[in-house]
């Protein structure tokens, strides 16, 4: 009884017939690979979950090196269900980045980056970088030994870039070394700058998706395929999947709460067998492949430059893949995509097992 009244109230004030028509006209193709359409939505859902749990944690977290670690211990031991929301935030972040990568490689393999959707790839790529930076900056908030060492290595690695390296390093660190200023700066990034940027970019990303509609793989484009309306069919399917993802995150949060290591000490050596977060492992292993000195040049600089070129090429794929822009099959880029995916998986596993 209330719902029709509510609808009438809106109708008497706003003409949303156009919007309704637009919503009703959104159709999702049905084919062999249509499960990939859900990966973006899952990533969005996890992002929203992170926003909510992050806002909650911000109630009690203190971003100062003398209090950060202690405030997290307070959250975990003294606040009602504090341990749960911290654990949820941790696992939400892990799964979010997993699904960002699944979404990334999914779109890469079915080439939905091709014309006219290049800007989706561009905004998506920037969102990937933002997500990784979210992970790194959030991780430092704990201010334990592992986070401290991880940030030192990550910002130090960025500093190895020629010319711009030291500027980037000092900008990120808020100084020459990782210190309390780094914590404050990363807090600003994590809580204010990155959320606003990501909201803007996600808005653009979603806008472009609505504008272009869902893309179908090249091989299936010419064939007849059925389509189902987004509202209400796919919307409810999305909801079911999001519920399951929520269930998984909550289960992981309860059964595997993340530990809290020792407080960071700038003068102490890093703990034994330390490793960065798993989404950095492939970069670390790649760097390890390069020898210290190559033809008289600093091996690390060459390594970083090579990695940067690889990532830059990856970024430019939609603009380099001429065949798929024309709507033709592009087997070379399929191979390139598979190579990137296999490389990522292999190097991550190598990083884990070494």
């Amino acid at each position: 009884m209330i719902w029709p009244k509510f609808k009438d109230w809106i109708d008497e004030r706003y003409d949303i017939a156009e919007l309704k028509k637009l919503a009703k006209s959104k159709l999702i193709p049905q084919h062999r690979y249509d499960f990939l359409y859900y990966t973006g939505g899952i990533t969005l859902f996890l992002f929203i979950l992170q926003f909510i749990t992050g806002m909650l944690l911000a109630f009690y977290y203190i971003p100062h090196i003398d209090f950060a670690y202690e405030s997290i211990i307070d959250i975990v031991t003294k606040i009602n269900m504090g341990w749960f929301f911290r654990s949820l935030h941790h696992w939400g972040a892990q799964l979010c980045i997993v699904f960002v990568f699944i979404h990334l490689f999914g779109t890469l393999l079915v080439k939905s980056y091709r014309k006219p959707r290049e800007l989706l790839w561009v905004t998506g790529f920037i969102l990937l970088v933002i997500s990784i930076f979210f992970g790194l900056s959030g991780y430092l908030m704990l201010w334990d030994e592992r986070a401290f060492a991880a940030v030192r290595v990550a910002t130090g690695g960025a500093g190895a870039l020629p010319f711009v390296g030291s500027f980037i390093k000092i900008f990120l660190r808020g100084g020459v070394d990782v210190s309390g200023d780094t914590l404050t700066r990363f807090y600003a990034f994590h809580v204010s700058i990155l959320p606003l940027l990501s909201l803007l970019l996600i808005g653009l990303h979603l806008l472009f998706v609505q504008y272009h509609g869902m893309s179908t793989p090249v091989s299936l484009e010419k064939k007849e395929h059925k389509e189902e309306p987004f509202f209400p069919n796919v919307f409810y399917k999305d909801m079911m999947i999001w519920l399951v993802v929520l269930g998984v995150v909550v289960t992981l949060a309860i059964l595997l709460p993340p530990e809290i290591g020792k407080k960071a000490n700038a003068l102490a050596p890093p703990p034994e067998g330390i490793k960065p977060e798993w989404y950095f492992l492939f970069l670390l292993e790649t760097l390890k492949l390069f020898p210290g000195i190559i033809w008289g040049f600093n091996g690390e600089t060459i390594a970083i430059v090579c990695v940067s070129i690889g990532i830059f090429f990856f970024f430019l794929i939609p603009f380099l893949d001429r065949k798929s822009s024309r709507g033709e099959k592009s087997p070379i880029f399929t191979i390139i995509a598979v190579v990137y995916l296999l490389y990522f998986i292999t190097m991550t596993l190598v990083g884990f097992l070494s």
Binding site: L56, Y60, K78, N80, M81, G82, F84
Partner: protein, 156 residues
């Protein structure tokens, strides 16, 4: 008796079921969120323990402040030598009150409220008297407890 036609439509049934489950699900979520948002730290204590030596020798007709959680408590030594302890917080808008020995009254500067020696609100906006505590001595310690609160002697 079997009905020929259903009393509710399929749509109503499904929507009610769905809406009801959603409400149940989200009320559980919101419950845990609100529990989190209300902090457990910084609650008012039931009693505090002070050193007798710090408070025994204050001059008559004066008050000394002690910590009662995050707000001031006042330890008052009256003209006749008897002692009392009270929460030094005005019952109007929770500003801190001070003791005026000259008038033998408590004064709240925020809205010019006055309380007499027994804590009764005599002038200005305060609606209720000041809260007094029970003072007990235990050896070298003073125990200031909220009226009616159980003092766990093991914790003292």
């Amino acid at each position: 008796m079997k009905l020929k036609y259903s009393l509710i439509t399929r749509r109503q049934f499904l929507n009610t079921l769905f809406g009801g489950s959603l409400i149940a699900f989200f009320s559980g979520t919101i419950f845990s969120l609100t529990k989190f948002a209300f902090p457990t730290l910084g609650k008012e204590p039931d009693f505090v323990v002070l050193n007798k030596t710090d408070f025994a020798d204050i001059p008559k007709n004066s008050a000394k402040t002690f910590a009662w959680g995050g707000v001031p408590g006042l330890y008052l030594k009256k003209e006749d030598g008897s002692v009392a302890a009270l929460k030094g917080v005005c019952t109007h808008m929770e500003c801190n009150v001070t003791y005026r020995p000259a008038e033998k009254k408590f004064y709240c500067a925020c809205h010019k409220g006055w309380f007499d020696e027994t804590g009764k609100n005599i002038a200005g906006p305060p609606p209720k008297p000041l809260e007094f505590f029970e003072v007990t001595e235990k050896g070298e310690k003073l125990i200031i407890a909220r009226k009616g609160a159980k003092v766990d002697l093991a914790k003292v």
